[in-house]
Symmetry: C2
Subunit: 343 residues, 2 copies
């Protein structure tokens, strides 16, 4: 089968790889119908050391079930399903609490051991705990929105959840990538009164406003913090969503939060170091990590089906799988917010 | 008047200083009847650079109101009152939310500008927002317990609160100083089912058990984490109280917490650096800072008066003010848990 392999920074190829197949009785085999490129895929795209082995890419996908192992009960061949960006057994202590990204028997797509989503097919471990059946056909107009539920929409939702967004609060969103934009959408859904998006890109500002942002702040660093304070009676925001993962964005988030407020951070941290003393005197609550998007799937599918949210708008480039490298390049150069891949 | 002044590491003296006096219409003037030495006073005692100016010490005290400014309404001369370790106006946005240690017009005792508690008298700014009248006489047997409410008991309580302690949970307490021990007591009061105290000192282990610890762990570092995992079905504790403030204790706390669990940290961080990536994948909630003990005073006074808690047991040394240096030494050498000072 064909699949995306990254061999080093900037080196993304579509190649023939061994066909995905059932290995365990709890597996399902999916033929991928839609996948996409994640902002977090850009980290290795910028910095990965060259390897001969290569690394299979992609962790967001929708597919048609082709076959299932003997123990799989909740999906069957022919079902159209969405996969979260991590698999999970659905039965361990953490899964039962809705923290599926800490599943005791979970794991991550791609790399050197597993199939990735940016390919023709995927072996899905722990199919019962992982996959959710979609109530639509393969070419439904809602497909882009449903595809975001595998990661970016659920991740934005978790950021808002972790940042304790509630009706009436003031929210700041740091980061105007797809996750940040969908963090705006999530905060709006959760009833935030004021949503301040930090963005310098016109097209992203526009989408942020469409998703519910009430204010745009273009300043960063000290000036950005100053601007947020001006907009929040001098005290800072109740809830701040950190959707980037750099030292600058994390400090921007913490410093934009009022004492007693909360930072929800979902940008995978790269080189972030927090000084204990700064945190201590900031009196800020900090919660984040890999979003348990599996927890939110049923609720978010429902919101998409009812047309209450339209997160698929973050896709502004659609390419066939064979042109995946162009998709990476466009996102890396910030010409595209997010790239959708068709088989 | 006489008061404690620190001139450098290990150099604590009782000296004549200018008499405390009313300066603002919102001030009260207190004659101190009981004060004490805090574990956090040991930080400068260990490391303070020598200065000629000196630094007034003490932030935990009970006193008799001697005089009040013209705008003070809630306390009057003759009242016996307890002061929290920070003053606050009681009316700002943060005070109204119970986060008095972020008060917009608050401040801290001692240093070079303010009176400290380890002296004969104190000028109390923002008296109405700060002081709470005690329903007992000056020599009541409950005095040691009431004195702990000015800091250590409220700080232990906040640690448990910030760590989200609820009925039935498993708690780990890192640190066996007075705050850690009262963190154990707080967790017990909040209904924790299992309370694991990390301690290597027999007398402190004993008090921890008396306050409600169900298990004692003497190991530290990797071994300490391993031991906690063994005691918690391999997953870690729901709530962890960090009551020290070093890199080691903070990492001990984070690594002892289950995914989705919470760390409440109240040890003033000294040189603590957190790696964003560690935090991210730990899926731990982090909250801490200077405890808003003013928030808890009415409730905790009530618990002490009803004899439901007896936090005064942390005092195992009582000295007259003139011997305060001996008190510092005893605590620094860990011969005493906490030193109470009489005038």
């Amino acid at each position: 089968m064909r699949a995306t392999v990254m061999y080093g920074a900037g080196d993304v190829r579509v190649e023939n790889v061994p066909d995905a197949r059932l290995e365990e009785p709890t597996d399902a085999l999916l033929v991928v119908t839609r996948s996409c490129i994640c902002g977090s895929d850009l980290w290795p795209y910028k910095s990965m050391e060259p390897t001969e082995e290569g690394r299979r890419m992609g962790h967001e996908f929708i597919g048609r079930v082709e076959a299932v192992g003997s123990e799989v009960r909740t999906v069957k061949p022919g079902d159209l399903v969405v996969a979260p960006f991590a698999w999970s057994d659905g039965t361990c202590v953490f899964c039962r609490e809705g923290l599926q990204t800490s599943c005791l028997h979970g794991g991550w797509w791609g790399g050197t051991e597993q199939d990735g989503g940016q390919g023709e097919a995927v072996r899905v471990p722990q199919a019962d705990g992982t996959l959710v059946v979609l109530p639509v056909e393969e070419d439904d107009a809602l497909m882009p929105s449903l595809l975001t539920l595998s990661d970016v929409m659920g991740t934005g939702w978790f950021a808002a959840d972790a940042a304790n967004v509630k009706p009436g609060v003031t929210v700041v969103v740091v980061g105007d990538g797809a996750v940040g934009l969908l963090g705006v959408l999530s905060a709006k859904q959760m009833g935030a009164e004021r949503i301040i998006a930090m963005s310098r890109h016109e097209s992203r500002q526009k989408l942020a406003r469409e998703f519910g942002a009430t204010d745009i702040v273009t300043e960063r660093g000290d000036e950005g913090v100053e601007r947020i304070k001006q907009l929040t009676k001098g005290v800072g925001a109740d809830s701040v969503l950190e959707c980037v993962g750099t030292q600058e964005s994390m400090m921007q988030a913490i410093r934009s939060t009022r004492p007693g407020g909360s930072v929800g951070y979902v940008g995978v941290p790269h080189g972030v170091e927090l000084q204990g003393e700064d945190l201590f005197y900031s009196h800020v609550r900090l919660h984040g990590g890999p979003a348990p998007v599996r927890r939110y799937l049923p609720q978010l599918i429902d919101l998409v089906m009812k047309n209450e949210i339209n997160p698929g708008k973050v896709f502004d480039l659609t390419l066939p799988l064979d042109q995946v490298a162009d998709g990476y390049r466009a996102m890396d150069e910030r010409r595209a917010i997010k790239t959708l891949l068709r088989p």
